[in-house]
Amino acid sequence: MKEEFKVISELVEEKSRVLDVGCGDGILMEYLSKNKVVDVRGLEISKEKVKKCLSNGLAVVEGNAEHDLKQFPDLSFDYVILSQTLQAFMSPENVIKDLLRVGKKVIVTIPNFGHWKVRLDLLFNGEMPITKNLPYEWYNTPNLHMCTIQDFYNFCNNKGISIFKTISLNGQKTSKITSSNLKFKNLISELGIFLLQK
């Protein structure tokens, strides 16, 4: 998802320290290092992917964000990024809490379960939706806690987490999400990108 990386990269300031949680193959890390002067680290659960990252010389540590974020001191990174993995955790609430402890700012991207195609699928077919961003069947999905942009927005408000910026991604198109257009953006966005702070 090149468009998502572009948005994230624009949110990250130059000369900052960045931690990519669930960094996968390290594509976002490489994208950031190429486009910005940043010191970027990764945490990834899959051995195969960690090996790939290390083979490319990236500073990636094998680990599970639900236990292994503990090793990072408070506010040790300027930005902590969580790209499309929040829904896969046993306890997304605790992970967000830890991200906000480790990072001065946190960027979270959410595959939006409130997108109109998802809603229509369930409404007309009566089946769990399968989309480009959510390609799994209900019985093999790693996504335990799906939410909508609206849900995550409410979550932040309830928990007293400040939202600096919310960006909607729909295909190649990006746009700002505000409290006044939230209902509509929740219908048309494939992805929501949030910039947060404790």
Binding site: R41, K47, V50, K51, L54, V61, Q71
Partner: protein, 371 residues
């Protein structure tokens, strides 16, 4: 051992103050090199050997005529690619392959120094090897690397010389020897010391060496290098060249025969006193304690990039202990990579043909060198 002529060595003239308080000077340090040092002198990798290793990491060891201990990893086109890098490996002090150790002949008595040799530490070993940088006029190494006790030396090296290596690869090691590690080492030492030929360490090194004790030490240690699953798959309850049990104490089982063979091969190439001294050095290793209980402090001054590797089936230096090093490095925002390689080959994995392990190191070094 009469092949010392085939060895390169430097004589370290200036005094080295040891942790035990004694001082040594004018002592030999045997080493070997592979590949070529480039003009910029920025492609050197110092490789540290483990307990029973020596300077002959690659190719054929000219003394034992067997493959070098890290032949899978070091050589042309291999993980530590000697077509690109200049690999240096030295025999640790306390060792028995030409460096200053208990087997060194004391010119005053014409006998081996034996247990009159001072007790040395990992710190002493590293400080002695640091002299090789001056010898080759290398300002900064590209990498320091090693597994097991070699990994401990990597950690100690970066702690002592924070900006003398761009990259550090501690593999399957620990920052502080555990009670279990010490226990196994003590078992080995007791086996040697209860051999009637040990004679308080003052055997002559020619005839009547404490070979039986040393062989038992090696057999016990060898078990700790393998995994239960690995042993079961390789040997199971297979019988050794017999169709049934013999109701005696010969080696009925293949595993018994294998261990006996490992023990008997080992005594031909290793000195029992060296085994005592080197295991002692490992037991004394506690980098965390050296830095008043805070391991992070050991690396605080360093800009070195770390790549830490552990193995799933290694129960001697388990992943948790390797991870403690990662945690200490992350606590100070150091540049650190870590992966646990999946294998059934136990602690010995770092010495064996484990393709995932070797290819990841190769790629990591090749990309990092140009970064």
């Amino acid at each position: 051992m009469d092949n010392f002529g085939k060895m390169k060595s430097i004589v370290i003239k200036q005094p080295l103050k040891l942790d035990c308080g004694k001082e040594i000077s004018n002592f030999p340090l045997a080493y070997e090199t592979y590949g070529n040092l480039n003009e910029k002198k920025d492609n050197a990798i110092l490789v540290f050997h483990a307990l029973t290793g020596d300077q002959f990491a690659s190719g054929i060891n000219p003394v034992t005529n067997r493959e070098g201990w890290w032949n899978y990893a070091v050589g042309p086109g291999k993980a530590f690619d000697t077509d690109k890098f200049f690999v240096i490996c030295a025999n640790v002090i306390g060792g028995c392959m030409g460096s200053y150790g208990p087997g060194t002949i004391d010119p005053l008595t014409n006998k081996p120094i034996g247990t009159n040799f001072p007790v040395i530490t990992i710190n002493d070993m590293v400080n002695a090897q640091y002299n090789l940088l001056d010898h080759f006029k290398i300002e900064k190494l590209f990498a320091v690397a090693g597994g097991s006790m070699g990994g401990m030396q990597v950690l100690q090296f970066v702690s002592n010389f924070p900006n003398k290596a761009k990259v550090a690869l501690p593999i399957a090691c620990t920052a502080s020897h555990s009670a279990q590690n010490i226990a196994f080492n003590e078992l080995g030492r007791q086996a040697i010391m209860s051999d009637i030929n040990w004679k308080d360490g003052l055997y002559d090194g020619q005839t009547n060496n404490p070979d039986k004790g040393l062989a038992v030490a090696r057999m016990a240690a060898h078990i700790t290098y393998l995994s239960k699953k690995g042993l079961q798959e390789k040997f199971g309850r297979n019988l050794q060249e017999r169709s049934d049990l013999k109701f005696g104490f010969d080696a009925d089982f293949q595993i018994e025969s294998y261990l006996r063979y490992q023990g008997s091969m080992f005594v031909d190439r290793f000195d029992a006193n060296s085994y005592l001294y080197i295991t002692r050095a490992m037991d004394y290793f506690d980098l965390t304690k050296q830095h008043s209980g805070n391991l992070s402090k050991a690396f605080k001054e360093s800009k070195t990039k770390f790549f830490i590797i552990s193995f799933t089936s290694d129960w001697l230096y388990p992943t948790s202990e390797n991870k403690d090093i990662v945690i200490a490095l992350n606590a100070i925002g150091a540049d650190v990579g870590f992966v646990e390689i999946k294998t059934d080959k136990g602690h010995d994995s770092f010495l064996l043909d484990v393709p995932d392990f070797l290819s990841t190191i190769k790629n990591y070094l090749n990309t990092t060198y140009f970064k």
